[in-house]
């Protein structure tokens, strides 16, 4: 795996997980001992619709190399409609980031239910691998944070 190849670079990855499905899915991955790299740090939000594009840009600003957002599957949102709004917002945001030349692989949305510990772990493994292959985020970072 590329992780061994690249000793120096340890990415910072922020995962926004909705409380009802994805956070529980991450819990299930944990209790099932399904590993994924420690580079992923999870922030709990009530719903994917709570994730403001500003949070995502903020993460990149402060040096994150990848940001992933997980929510309930469409149709299963605890609040009925939250993830539908989140889906449109993130689609447009990601498209804009792609437009200005930020590598598309650095952002991702995945729907993970409370029962999908396996999917959670697999998704994180895949995403981290992708970030390793992309390397350090330099296009959306505030250089002052390096000092």
């Amino acid at each position: 795996m590329s992780i061994e190849k690249n000793e120096e670079f340890r990415p910072k990855i922020v995962a926004f997980c909705c409380n009802w499905c994805s956070y529980a899915g991450a819990d299930l991955a944990g209790s099932s001992r399904l590993t994924y790299p420690a580079d992923v740090k999870i922030i709990r939000v009530p719903c994917s619709c709570r994730v403001n594009p500003m949070f995502i840009l903020r993460a990149f600003e402060k040096g994150a190399d990848g940001v992933i957002m997980c929510g309930c599957h469409p149709g299963d949102c605890h609040y009925s409609t939250g993830n539908y709004y989140a889906r449109r917002r993130m689609t447009l945001l990601f498209s804009m980031l792609d437009f200005i030349g930020v590598e598309n692989g650095r952002t991702r949305v995945e729907w993970v239910s409370a029962a999908e510990g396996v999917k959670f772990s697999a998704t994180m493994n895949e995403f981290v691998e992708k970030i390793y292959s992309l390397g350090k985020n330099v296009r959306l970072e505030d250089l002052r944070c390096r000092s």
């Binding site: 910072k12 991955a29 605890h78 009925s80």
Partner: protein
């Protein structure tokens, strides 16, 4: 500045085997605001909680972070412990260093590093936490049931039996709904009226139940526990108190040409009428549109013949305003219009009928007094064809995409009843699939096929063509034998798709209850909260939520009643304090937030504001914290950042992001 305590749990070896808990304590002490940190074997144990309480008291902590298992596990535990020690429970944050760390990482150094970062993020968040207090609201101990069919009746009975007052609002002159139109019910072949009528009587006689028939909900305001509803009692033109229900007026009424709604327009009724013999209340209404007195001013026969003097032409609509704690929607269904299905010749031939029309024909009180006969010429049919899935499971836009669920079973019932009563009639059923999940359902269907010799053909009917001799040519394909079928029939019965009562859209808007693209009311959760609307205090009963048969409807009616009773049993409601709040000075009043709120929790008011000395009236968003469930959709929709979510504020989440990326 906060005074924060950090408590790192070993969870036996669950955490401590992979995370160096001492290191986490040591690193936490370096974070801003942290004045205390310790680790312990089991933080959730009595002794662990006592340590937290002691530290809160001794170190005057204003916030705590517990590094332990998932907050989904013990957040409540630690919040309660904090509260007992005098700390606001919302000043507690959990760093999940077990499920999200120790259990998934093997390398101790790496896991410890991550645990430190997770702790740091929780500390950064709790630095910005503010004490939150759940709101309280009163509960009016009365329920409203909209719709007086079997779903509404059952819900009302269950709520009333629990000792709460219930009002039923029914649009038509009588309660009873669709079930009262049915002849027999599957899979037991009970007489529908025989089992429904006692329930209707029971509801009418129940001291806790008030029934408003010929009435509609006009306006709903308020929120869970405290709804105010305007009910329009349409003018009946008959005094409910004086009428004895003798029926003379209906016999003597000279206007007799109005199609009977109850009999699906297969025969006619008088202008003053009760829909059916067992109607409750047994008080007629005057259909003013068809009444000669109302249309021409000349007649008044009914007033003349009424011994009780109950006829009151001057009666006016009346608006009753009532308060309710809970509202149950039980608005039921209708069959779809068949305008898009010309190929079945429904509009061309009287002998092509819907299943619901067949119910009326089979019923002794129906237009043919229960004799199976062709409506065109009154002849007894010899060959009958049933077509399944008319407008259901439709992949184009002509019909409905969903399965209407009840048709397979009632068609088996119809086929069986016809074969039983008229053994010389051949019955053929064209189906796509026969769906019989349900207790005794498949057995029932197999009896139709095996004992009663009903001819089931898997295939779709392409066309029904009326012939010059009055018979109907049915062209179909047999999918199993892969052949084309042409057969002549005397009657064709269409298993017409059902759809929610068209009025439901208006009602849903009033209740701010969400509705799906098929006009079914949406449940709060498809699996776990199937009888609640996402809007608090609104419950769903019967087909308004999705297609179902009578047993399922009754089950759901009971479930909705239980949920309503659970609400009414409370003296006051504690509301989740993690709700959205709008900053009056930043709000533009643009309505964007209200457009994404699934709970109708946001309204707009013209408020006097003092914006740094500038006093003016502004249109601003106001969040009803009793309705808000705290999803946060509005906070992102709001461009000015006026809308924020308590407990998950913009600054809190940003602080977590910063702490993680640092």
């Amino acid at each position: 500045m906060q005074r924060i305590g950090v408590f790192v749990c070993h969870c036996g070896s669950n955490i401590a085997a992979t995370v160096d808990v001492k290191k986490v304590v040591e690193m936490a002490l370096l974070e801003p605001g942290v004045v205390h940190a310790e680790d312990y074997q089991y933080m959730c144990s009595e002794a662990g909680q006592a340590k937290i309480a002691a530290a809160i008291r001794e170190k005057h902590l204003t916030g705590i972070v517990v590094c332990s298992c998932s907050p989904r596990m013990h957040e409540t535990t630690f919040r309660k412990a904090a509260e007992r020690a005098g700390l606001n429970p919302y000043m507690v944050e959990i760093a999940n260093i077990r499920e999200h760390c120790s259990w998934i990482h093997k390398d101790m150094e790496e896991a410890t590093k991550k645990a430190v970062i997770l702790a740091r993020a929780a500390i950064a968040k709790v630095n910005l936490n503010t004490p939150l207090k759940p709101g309280e609201s009163r509960v009016t101990k009365r329920a409203l049931v909209i719709g007086g069919g079997i779903a509404g009746i059952q819900t009302a009975l269950d709520i009333a039996d629990a000792g709460y007052e219930v009002d039923i609002v029914e649009k038509t002159p009588s309660i009873g709904g669709r079930m009262s139109q049915l002849d027999k019910t599957f899979p037991t072949l009970d007489c529908s009226a025989c089992i429904l009528t006692p329930k209707m009587v029971e509801a009418a006689a129940h001291e806790k139940i008030k029934i408003y028939t010929y009435s509609e909900v006009e306006k709903v305001s308020g929120f869970v526990g405290d709804f105010t509803v305007d009910i329009r009692k349409k003018a009946r033109s008959v005094d409910m108190d004086k009428c004895t229900g003798c029926g003379v007026c209906q016999e003597k009424c000279p206007s007799r040409k109005t199609p009977s709604e109850f009999n699906r327009g297969l025969n006619t009724r008088s202008a003053i009428y009760t829909p059916f013999a067992q109607a409750i209340p047994n008080v007629p209404v005057i259909d003013r549109e068809h009444c000669i007195k109302f249309q021409t001013g000349k007649c008044g026969v009914c007033a003349k013949v009424c011994q009780a003097g109950a006829i009151d032409y001057g009666q006016k609509d009346e608006i009753v305003t009532e308060k309710y704690g809970a509202i149950v929607v039980a608005t039921g269904f209708d069959t779809i219009k068949l305008d898009n299905y010309d190929e079945y010749a429904y509009s061309q031939s009287k002998d092509v009928i819907t299943s619901l029309e067949l119910e009326r024909i089979m019923n002794a009180a129906g237009p043919t007094k229960g004799h199976l006969e062709r409506l065109s010429d009154g002849k007894a049919p010899k060959e009958m064809v049933f077509i399944q899935c008319v407008g259901s499971r439709c992949s184009d836009n002509r019909g409905k995409s969903y399965c209407s669920k009840i048709c397979c079973m009632y068609t088996a019932k119809h086929a069986m009843l016809i074969r039983d009563k008229y053994p010389d009639v051949n019955v053929t059923v064209f189906y796509i699939d026969v769906r019989t999940p349900g207790k005794n359902f498949d057995e029932f269907y197999r009896r139709a096929v095996e004992q009663y010799g009903v001819n089931y053909i898997k295939g779709q009917v392409g066309k029904v063509a009326p012939q010059p001799d009055g018979r109907l040519l049915v062209q179909a394909s047999d999918l199993l034998d892969n052949r084309q079928i042409k057969m002549e029939a005397d009657m064709v019965v269409l298993a017409t798709a059902i759809e929610p009562n068209p009025d439901v859209r208006k009602i849903a808007t009033m209740l701010t209850a969400s509705i799906d693209t098929n006009n079914f009311l949406t449940e709060a959760h498809a699996k776990l909260r199937p009888v609640e609307s996402p809007t608090a205090g609104i419950f769903l009963s019967g087909v308004c939520q999705g297609p179902k048969d009578i047993p399922e409807t009754v089950e759901q009616a009971g479930a909705a009643a239980v949920k309503a009773i659970g609400l009414l049993a409370k003296d006051k409601l504690l509301t989740n304090p993690c709700t959205a709040q709008s900053d009056i000075l930043l709000c533009n009043g643009c309505s964007t937030c209200a457009n994404v709120c699934p709970y109708g929790a946001i309204t707009y008011e013209d408020k006097e504001v003092n914006d740094h000395g500038i006093r003016e009236t502004r249109r601003v968003a106001v969040v009803n914290s009793a309705l808000c469930q705290g999803c946060g959709a509005c906070t992102v929709a709001c461009p000015s950042g006026a809308m924020d979510l308590q407990g998950f504020s913009n600054r809190q989440i940003i602080a977590e992001v910063d702490a993680i990326c640092r």
